[in-house]
Symmetry: C2
Subunit: 525 residues, 2 copies
């Protein structure tokens, strides 16, 4: 069988060739770029730091949006849309906030172009006040909230926005870190601190639920330390996932903003007691970065692997058409199969998504293009399959040669179970990786050894989640960061699988001081 | 009964009061702003020219997106996402294009903020090349297409993008003309001129289908004259609707771009014959402007009127709760009714959308808030209705006092028919308006009289669609525009209701020269 860009397994004892080169163990960052490229998810654009999300990648984002949007609405939120531009003076209203974003923002200064002396167009029409392309919308939404909220009856305000945002990044990587990215940002205002805290945790739970049950990506919910907090927040919580190189990926954040932004934007209301009070606000967001996390959690050396619940398509049908005399019949058989699947089989509450690939390409190239795209199931149908009324099925979560024959009717009937099995299998595999690579670390030396690649055979693997006591001192955190590029990813919240490992009090190995619980140290994206 | 911001009809012969003030006949533009405000669709933001789309308005946009997105996918298009920023040199690639957009664009010139000598933040980090916030994406998408297209096998490329765009407008009006707006832009590339022309017309038809069958807004499909063409296009087609003040609203455009942009961006392919050829491209778009059109087509002096197919909610249930002893029972009865409707009644292929309004407000205020929001059906339920197992129904397309009692079961069973009847009724009413106000005009004097408000009793009504012969001379067009603020809205395409009126050849009344068919002259937004 022919392979795609790379090639396929050999029958000798030579090391197996792979469709993606380099492999994960050769060069993990480059492997990631190649998987994204081979799956046709996205590519860099000529605009520095901005990516183009191609149809297969955007289809993934549409599915992510669809599920999250439903979850947000089920928890009482409504969508709205706010301006792309934020006046500089608004950004300045919250001191920490502007400090956090001033270093990396796109500034609009003019509103017209005119031919200059040499005939080239130059910006003219200087704005009185520069406008910042939103890096996040707390300040502009806060301003609107201050107009909308008069009385406690107007609260809570539960708003979400799907939007593009810009943070000027010089070192970018597709999906993981780009100057422009797509995201949702929830912004809520409440009458009491307790309600705002409850909302902050509710949305963190929604994100964790989505990551685990749709992305098949296990996450640890934790609170961020002071130095990793969102600029202007009182407390920041996140979900952290482990990539296959054992680095952490912050995949979603939920912020309890206290009254900081309410005071900056004067979101005030007349309380039941007749007093004017400041509202309590929250914000929370996930972005196209999730796609990077999904790629790095599941993919292998043959390319992308997609969890069925989010895959743009579930099944590709590949008619084998090289014999002219059976061509029309095989094509008709496949078309009917595709129609039947689309119209009578459901998975996760919606019709299954089916592709019929009739492109005029060599069979091997065709199959490999779908392997690299990560489609959960491939179904080959040739003249002999048709005669036997059977199909030849390949699962993306198994070796590409490990295929099996099913009677057509059995395939149609068991398709939802097959997809559910793949979804669960991916989650199980990813969960095993996190658990095997989360270790209780008890001394400073142990920690430094854990994250020192020179000590290892596999330079592309970066320790794991080091569960370590810590007294909360930022200077220690800073030291570890400088020495190892390792940070505290989060202080785990109770009620998770790692409770037994982290919740017992102990001694901080850096200071010898008491520590209430272990925290997660790791390298990160 | 109490009224909302305005008030309700009087039983005497005094002129009826209305919920919206001024009325359409008093001051149409101000009436529009008040309808948008009273329905809570959108409002101006502190960012010049940018609006905030509030949840009820955004819900409308989500429904518009949902239907159009399905239509685009059914016609073979895929969604993708391209950068927000366009390098100035890209915009310059097509001479007419840059000329069309240079006068009104947001220019990013810096990528950082730093404290200046007086401590205030100022833009620093000047970009080597200014970036334009996209006013439309032909040039950046053209660049990507040039990389994606190598051979005729890569064609057609059928791409759509949902995005925000910015055109710096100084005189803005909510939805109709704003500096930032939301839209979709389709961009396609084809191997032949015929295919590109076919695509241009296919998408114009999709827009017309959507306008008529979802927005209940009749439109005329036509070709734009040279001076109204999209900058860089070979031909521009549009759908034009008539608002209640008889002005035209351009509601969607589809452009045949010929090889202009393919040459500017070097979109070339190896043809079947082995020759390198330039592709033929199209682009087409509709925007949040559609919401302005919807408001002005159907609304009345009591506020917004929504076509059921796009309404964020179809029905509001209003329990009458003033008697303490029956309060709990009425509420339970209404909750059950809402649940039954949501779970067992479908309209337009989806579950009906139901609101249960239990706010602690006076009954009249509550009812009027929903009238002004344009919800198609209001259902009041008080203790006596409950006892009789019946509901008291008000239709938004009828006078607000014209309500009727239905047995609960009958209401549940006939709800889809009621909604369908309202949808059709709105379309019929709007269609009648266009036909009554489209007139064949045969002389120059007649035309000038038709559009001169001094000749009329109703200064807020601006003529209508004047179907007039014209020899195609731009100077005549310019003269009429200067004299009357009237332009050629389009040269009607064949196969429409006005065929009998416009398709016969005749004589241009301005020049005395022959004219192949009549065109539509009108004032416009």
């Amino acid at each position: 069988m022919a392979a795609g860009n790379g090639s396929t397994k050999q029958k000798s004892n030579k090391p197996a060739k792979t469709a993606i080169s380099p492999t994960r163990s050769d060069n993990y960052p480059e492997w990631y770029q190649q998987v994204v490229r081979a799956a046709d998810l996205a590519e860099s654009s000529p605009v520095r730091g901005c990516m183009v999300i191609k149809p297969w990648g955007y289809g993934l984002w549409e599915n992510i949006q669809g599920v999250l949007d439903r979850m947000f609405k089920e928890t009482g939120h409504q969508n709205a849309y706010f301006p792309l531009f934020i006046p500089l003076s608004y950004l300045e209203k919250e001191a920490q906030h502007v400090e956090g974003f001033a270093k990396e923002c796109a500034v609009v200064t003019h509103h017209r172009l005119e031919a200059g002396p040499d005939g080239k167009l130059i910006p003219v029409g200087k704005l009185e006040e520069p406008l910042i392309v939103r890096p996040t919308s707390e300040t502009i939404i806060g301003e609107m909230f201050s107009q909308w909220v008069q009385s406690y009856r107007d609260l809570p305000l539960l708003i979400n926005q799907w939007a593009n945002v810009v943070r000027w990044e010089l070192r970018t990587r597709l999906f993981l870190r780009t100057a422009e990215f797509l995201w949702q940002e929830g912004h809520t205002a409440h009458a009491t601190e307790a309600e705002a805290r409850e909302e902050t945790m509710r949305m963190l739970d929604v994100y964790a639920d989505f990551a685990e049950n749709y992305m098949a990506m296990p996450v640890i919910k934790g609170e961020k330390t002071e130095c990793e907090r969102f600029p202007g927040a009182v407390q920041t919580y996140s979900i952290e996932a482990m990539m296959q190189d054992r680095k952490a990926l912050q995949s979603g954040t939920s912020h309890f903003l206290g009254q900081n932004f309410a005071k900056a934007s004067r979101i005030q209301f007349l309380g039941e007691s007749g007093q004017h009070e400041h509202a309590w606000t929250t914000s929370w967001g996930v972005s196209t970065r999730l796609i990077g996390g999904l790629v790095m959690t599941h993919s292998d050396d043959n390319g992308l692997v997609l969890p069925p619940k989010l895959a743009p398509s579930h099944v590709v049908i590949l008619p084998i058409l090289h014999k002219e005399e059976t061509r029309a019949q095989v094509l008709e058989y496949c078309t009917k199969l595709a129609d039947e699947l689309k119209h009578s089989v459901q998975y996760d509450g919606r019709p299954v998504r089916v592709e019929l690939d009739t492109r005029d390409l060599r069979g091997g190239d065709k199959i490999w293009s779908w392997i690299k795209k990560g489609i959960p199931l491939r179904v080959e149908v040739g003249p002999r399959d048709m005669e036997a009324d059977s199909v030849f099925v390949g699962r993306r979560d198994r070796e590409h040669k490990d295929r099996f024959t099913l009677k057509r009717a059995e395939f149609v009937n068991t398709l939802p179970d097959l997809l559910a099995e793949i979804q669960t299998g991916l989650h199980d595999r990813a969960t095993a990786l996190v658990r095997e690579n989360s270790a209780c670390i008890n001394t400073r030396d142990e920690l430094y050894d854990y994250f020192t690649p020179a000590n290892r055979e596999q330079p592309e693997i970066h320790g794991g989640f080091a569960l370590c006591h810590w007294n909360g001192d930022g200077a220690i955190e800073e030291q570890v960061k400088n020495d190892l590029s390792v940070t505290v990813r989060g202080i785990p919240l109770p009620g998770q699988w790692l409770d037994d490992l982290v919740r017992e009090p102990g001694t901080c190995p850096f200071s010898g001081e008491p520590s209430p619980q272990r925290v997660v140290f790791a390298k990160s994206y």
